[in-house]
Every structure is written in C-alpha cells, then in structure tokens.
Symmetry: C2
Subunit: 257 residues, 2 copies
C-alpha cells in the first residue's frame, strides 16, 4: 500500500513540515520504499518532484525538505509497490493536461483487474492507479467539452469513484490547481489549521513547528494524509465512502456513498 | 531568445557537464534569466526539473548539476522571455502524454501571432512555444490513431515545422524518449562524441572533463545546443531549414527544407 499527502490553503503555504514527516515513512519509520513524488501548483504551473528511490534516502527529497515551495494546492505520495515495477513511470502523482489545466492524481490502494476503456488518455506505466486516473479523465472528456461547473464535475467524479471502489481500495487525491478532491474508501484523515495557531510535533521525526510564528490570522490550511502526521493535534477521520472537495483550505462540497 | 540543450546517447549517460555550461548562461555568462528546465527520460518515465528563476541562482539547478541522472534522451532549455510572463507555466520544456508516451518539447525563437487551431491539447501557459507544441501533437493525433512508423511520423512533423517557420524563428527539440527530433531555422549545433574520447573544456565555466575516463569504447553520445558549449571541440552547425532525428546518439534520418 501507499500513503497520500494533500494540502489545500487560502494563501500560498509551504508544506515542508508535513512533507518531512511523510518522507520518513519511505524507508525509515514506514515501509513505503518504492518511490515518492509531490506536485506543487504555482499559478497555472505544476512543479513535480519524483523519485523511484526510497524517500528517506533520496537527495531530491532532501532538497524539497529544505526548499519552502509555497502553494495553495499540493498532492504527494509515497509508494509501496503492488501493481507495477519500481520505476519512474510508475511513481505517483500522475499528471495530464485537461482543458488547458494541469490535473494531478495520486492513489492509495489497489484495484483488482482494473481495465480502463480505450480513450484519449493512456497510461505510460503499468499501475492500476494511472489506468484509473486516465479512465477518470476520459470520462470527464466524454461528458464535457470544457471545464463544467464544479457541481456538474463532482457528479461525474463521484460516480466514477463509487464505481472504481467496487474493484478494491480507492483512496485518492485529485486536483486541477483550483480545488483538491479527496475520496476515501478505507483510510484518510485531515486537519484544518487556522487562528489561533499553535505548535505541532511530527510523529515520524523530532521536529516541532510553531505555526503561530509562520502564519497570519486569516490563513486557513488543510492537510490531508493517510495517517495523522502529528501527535498533538486532533486529526479528523474520513468515513469509508466519504469524499470532500477542498478549496482555499475549506470544504466546498462533501458527501458519502 | 532562449537556448536549447539536447542529448541522444546509446547508453544511459549523464549530462552534468553540458548542463553545467548551459546553466551559467542563465544570468552569469548569458542573459537567459527567465527560467530554465530539463527533462530526462528514465525508461518510460520522464524526470522534469523546472524553475522560473535564473538558472545561475537556482537551488534546483545546483542539485541537477551535482546529481548525475543517466538518460539516453534529454531536453533542456534556458529562457529569455519574449511572449508570456516569467512563470512556471511558461517554462520549457513542455510535456504531454501522447499514445501512452511522454512527449517533451522545447523551442528557441518566436512565432508572430501564432494561433493554434482548437484541438485536444491546449496550452496551460501563454507562450507561442507551448501553443506550437500543442498544435504539433494535435496534428499527429489527427493523422494517426496510434504511433506510426518513424518515417510516416517525420513526414507530418517536418511539414508542420516547415509551416511554423513561416511565422518566425522555430528552432526546436522534440522527443518521445525513443528518439530526439531537432529542427533548425536559425541557430543550432551538435557534437557527437565517440571513441577515442578526449578531454573537453566548457566555454562558460572553468570545468574540464576527460570523457575517456567516464565512458566505454562503444558509447556514442550526441549533444545538441544553440551555441557550442565547449571551446576545444569541433561542433557541427545546422543549416537553416535543416532537421535531424537522433536515435541512440546517431542520426536516424535528416533533411533540409
């Protein structure tokens, strides 16, 4: 299995603290040694770092940990391979351009015998995850010729996710830079930080940060993870079948299958 | 204007030496301060590093200079902006998935009033370069439903490039990981290194490398650049209208408009 990391914020915020915690689970405090990746939206651009190496040993991961990239939407992932070899092409998150936007996707779980229909988007690697991402985007394209309203988009997205979960475990994060969609079938959790900010301590590394010193009173920052990354905060668990669409750090829409 | 860097090799080879020379031209020995990027194919995957900052000052560029990523096909670029603001979305190279492959493109030059027809691929940023890339891929998709033979592909590619150059300057590099296509309208040069290998000295930094110590007798490595990167080797100039498709370090096909 794998672990996911997401962030949605109302001001460009760096995710160094949470990323540092997650990276330890890629070979040090956790078994997810088979690659890692993280995508940061910067305006309409997407900055993607990936490595098929274990994150705990990755020089690129070390760079990202000391390089505070500010973003309002982030998707990260550490991999413990089940379907598909350990390779760059099988490393999450996956990215495609749709309607002139960068769409970014990461998946935790496994889909049995997932076969995507033929369509415009085709997987580059061998994972069930990338096949599911392509299928999602192909469906969106078949329903809409341009970016629809969020509510219309959500109807198609949620219906597809509800179908995919019949084939196995499908916890996922998806973003187009404007919003962050999260879907849980087994395990997902989030925390929303806002004023008054306090200190937080990582579970996986001896690191404490005082968010009060790094934020302004209007900041709202939500972090989503497979398992809580800190041990002194009250993370909120998703229920199986629950989905939430985050925008500017807060829930825009949510529901449950 | 901008500068291009390409590599085609018959064995996975690192491009640290050439990249180090090019990066100096992004703010130190050259005026190309408006961002840089480089894509390395690793198997079917593509590892992309980009930064809208000047390469001479970029921490990510420093990482790439000390991190020998081995690849058989590489496309790099440093930018001096003309069309489009300085931003990540306008930073080359651009990437799209086509037929389950990562296609990567960088452009040096400027196309006047370039308007791409509506199509499947749409630019994310504002550059003429990305619009031309999308138009290229849209044409390929309209001609072929799957990857055709290289000769058929080349016919469409060269015809499109010949048309684009009517609108301005169109030096470009394009790759799908298997081959590297290069097209010159004003300025492009290459060097092919093979046994017996000797020393090479960068023009833009006080760096000499002895390729004899870093290669085997069967290695063939071609580097393509806008301007020669070394001052003790005989770089070969492209003629205006000349194109070459490189594969495994050697020319697979070439021609001239």
């Amino acid at each position: 299995m794998c672990e996911l990391l997401g962030m949605s914020a109302n001001v460009p915020t760096d995710i160094v603290f949470s990323f540092t915690g997650l990276m330890q689970r890629g070979g040090r405090t956790g078994p997810h040694r088979d690659g890692w990746g993280i995508g940061f939206y910067e305006g309409r651009g997407l900055r993607l770092f990936q490595d098929p190496q274990a994150s705990a040993d990755s020089e690129v991961a070390q760079l990202v940990q000391r390089y505070p990239i500010k973003s309002t939407a982030v998707i990260g992932h550490i991999r413990q391979a089940n379907v598909g070899a350990v390779s760059l092409a099988n490393t999450h998150p996956f990215v495609r351009e749709l309607w002139g936007q960068n769409w970014c996707f990461a998946h935790n779980g496994q889909l049995a015998d997932f076969a995507s229909a033929q369509g415009f988007y085709q997987p580059v690697g061998d994972t069930d995850s990338e096949a599911a991402f392509c299928e999602l985007l192909n469906r969106l394209r078949s329903y809409f010729t341009q970016l629809p309203s969020l509510d219309k988009l959500l109807t198609v997205l949620v219906e597809a996710c509800d179908e995919f979960r019949q084939a196995g475990v499908f916890n996922c994060l998806l973003s187009n830079g404007d919003w962050l969609f999260s879907y849980c079938t087994t395990k997902m959790t989030h925390i929303t930080r806002r004023a008054p900010f306090g200190p937080a301590t990582l579970k996986d590394a001896d690191v404490t940060v005082d968010f009060h010193a790094e934020t302004t009173p209007n900041d709202v920052v939500t972090v989503i993870a497979t398992d809580p990354l800190t041990d002194n905060e009250a993370w909120v668990l998703y229920q199986p079948g629950e989905w939430k669409l985050w925008r500017d750090g807060v829930i825009y829409s949510e529901g449950k299958a």
